[in-house]
């Protein structure tokens, strides 16, 4: 079995001469929430569609649970729950009836799957209300119910908070967290909102104009994007004592025996280096890292940033 639930190799989708997705190498590890971040039209939906076999890639391969998708749809796709673009259901049927159709076609894991799924998203079971009378938020909830009805291992959710009010968004966020933490699901979620992804995801992939610019865990990104001065010295213990004693600086962390990060930029860094050297320390590197997470995204996407 593969280390990754989802892995793509050189995935490319070309519409005419324009590459919607170019040479994508995506890696989603089990039990994690992977946030695909990108502006509208960056290729998020196309990527997700290719993962589900809804769109045939121009080139490249999709591996799900280490198995190539083409030819194994029948065994792989039922293990995925998905929500792509706007929710689509039959308007002349009620929510329960709509779910019943998909339950009959795909199968469900237990007798009360439809009722449980509706309860989970807060919609009434066996309600008389037709889908056409639903509000946007309720439609979105029903789409989520459809995605989780068969208790899948992997969830692929394309902008799941679309059309929800702020309370709904917060609920959805904790709902997705719970699915991941309590039920061990792997979740791929896309969004164009940085704050949403940074609140939810464990790993982040940044997609811009069809190119995956960066793929990294949020912890590492946050660590790297904190404003700090990085000192590489021969003895961090000694350096720490000097910082405290001579410069009254306490806001630092020690990475290992040689790397020290100082989280205060208004310091006489030059004098610090002199003090280190005077005390017999070797200083091999000093650099200032002054990016916030948002700055970082702006930088990797090359400009305007992500709203």
């Amino acid at each position: 079995m593969s280390r990754y639930i989802v892995e793509t190799r050189g995935l490319t989708k070309q519409y005419g001469t324009q590459k919607s997705v170019a040479d994508l190498h995506l890696h989603i590890a089990p039990g994690r929430i992977y946030g695909l971040l990108g502006r509208n039209g960056a290729g998020k939906t196309t990527t997700m569609k290719m993962l589900l076999g809804l769109t045939r890639p121009t080139s490249g391969e999709v591996f799900l649970w280490g198995t190539p998708l083409p030819g194994h749809e029948k065994e792989l796709l039922p293990r995925i729950g998905s929500l792509i673009e706007a929710p689509g259901f039959y308007p002349n049927l009620t929510a329960t009836e709509n779910l019943r159709i998909f339950a009959a076609l795909r199968g469900v894991p237990n007798r009360h799957a439809i009722r449980d799924a509706l309860e989970l998203v807060g919609l009434p079971y066996r309600d008389k209300k037709l889908f056409s009378q639903y509000s946007m938020g309720m439609k979105q909830r029903l789409a989520i119910a459809l995605a989780v009805m068969h208790d899948p291992e992997l969830l692929i959710l394309d902008e799941p908070t679309n059309g929800l009010d702020p309370i709904g968004i917060a609920e959805m966020r904790s709902f997705i967290r719970r699915l991941c933490e309590e039920r061990g699901k792997t979740i791929l979620i896309s969004s164009h909102i940085l704050s949403e992804i940074s609140l939810l995801a464990d790993d982040i992939g940044i997609l811009d104009h069809g190119v995956l610019l960066e793929e990294e865990s949020l912890a590492v990104l946050e660590q790297n994007s904190r404003k700090h001065i990085r000192f590489a010295v021969s003895d961090t213990a000694r350096a720490a004592a000097i910082l405290e004693q001579q410069f009254q600086e306490t806001a630092f962390s020690i990475q290992d025996d040689h790397i020290l990060r100082l989280y205060n930029l208004d310091v006489p860094a030059g004098r610090m280096v002199t003090a280190f050297v005077k005390n017999g320390l070797e200083v091999s590197e000093v650099c200032t890292c002054e990016e916030s997470l948002e700055d970082h995204f702006k930088q990797v996407t090359g400009g305007e940033g992500i709203a």
């Binding site: 569609k49 589900l52 076999g53 809804l54 769109t55 749809e73 029948k74 796709l77 039922p78 995925i80 998905s82 792509i84 673009e85 706007a86 689509g88 259901f89 039959y90 308007p91 002349n92 049927l93 009836e97 019943r100 159709i101 998909f102 009959a104 076609l105 795909r106 037709l130 459809l146």
Partner: protein, 264 residues
């Protein structure tokens, strides 16, 4: 497959347009009964009463199945085949996974089922109206209903091109309706223009569609001693069967091709 067909039927729940279209099955039986009611007054013997019933059945088959069925068939086809396009549910189905071809065959199955239902409804309607007017006119009812069922089957096949046309043009329901209507009228005109031309009439869809039905009715009458039967060469039956199968095959191929276009 059985599940898919069940789902297709389930999707039609509460669909008012389908109910409306199916209820049109009663249109010709009712109209014909009203217009021919007077001729029943002159009828004296059992033979004449039976002839009246036969006539009504024949006319219903001719108008209901030949003129109206292709027209309605196109609309029902649009209703079925466009439901995924209009509700945006194809992605949900594909993620199950249900393939495009499975879906097409399920929808075709439902189309045929509807056609049978329509034919049966008109058959039952004719019988009911005759029964109300004069119970003695009825005879050999089960056999006539079987004929209606067969007419539903063959006329559905003959009407398949209109579904292909509707899918190909990929328009709204109203335009699909017009298109189906056009197809039915053109068919009808062709029949009137070329019915006397022996070679061409062999390939008229409407004639071929009702060929088996009319022969069955004639046989039955001969068997009951009510009329004589002029035998047709075996080749004719073979030709009609092959013709129908050919239409079915070509239409399925085209359907698969055109349906792919927008559902990609």
């Amino acid at each position: 497959m059985r599940k898919l067909v069940w789902c297709e039927l389930y999707k039609l729940k509460r669909s008012k347009s389908l109910l409306l279209l199916t209820s049109l099955a009663l249109l010709f039986p009712a109209a014909l009964t009203v217009f021919t009611k007077s001729s029943l007054a002159d009828a004296a013997g059992t033979a004449e009463l039976h002839a009246y019933y036969d006539n009504l059945v024949n006319y219903t088959l001719a108008y209901g199945a030949m003129l109206l069925l292709p027209c309605l068939f196109g609309c029902v086809g649009a209703l079925l085949f466009f439901s995924e396009r209009d509700c945006d549910t194809f992605k949900n189905l594909q993620a199950i996974p249900v393939t495009r071809n499975q879906l097409i065959f399920a929808k075709l199955g439902v189309l045929y089922l509807w056609s049978e239902l329509y034919a049966l409804c008109s058959g039952l309607a004719v019988t009911l109206f005759c029964f109300v007017l004069e119970p003695r006119t009825l005879y050999d009812v089960p056999f006539k209903l079987v004929c209606f069922l067969l007419a539903g089957l063959t006329m559905a096949t003959v009407s398949l091109p209109v579904v292909v046309l509707v899918i190909y043009s990929n328009q709204s329901y109203l335009l699909s309706l017009l298109l189906s209507f056009l197809y039915a009228v053109v068919n009808w005109l062709l029949l009137i223009l070329f019915a006397s031309h022996e070679v061409l009439s062999l390939w008229l869809p409407l004639l071929n569609g009702l060929m088996f039905v009319s022969r069955l009715l004639a046989w039955r009458k001969a068997a009951l001693g009510l009329a004589s039967l002029t035998p047709l060469p075996l080749g004719t039956y073979l030709r009609v069967s092959l013709y129908l199968l050919f239409i079915l095959g070509v239409c399925i191929l085209l359907l698969v091709r055109f349906y792919k276009k927008w559902s990609r």
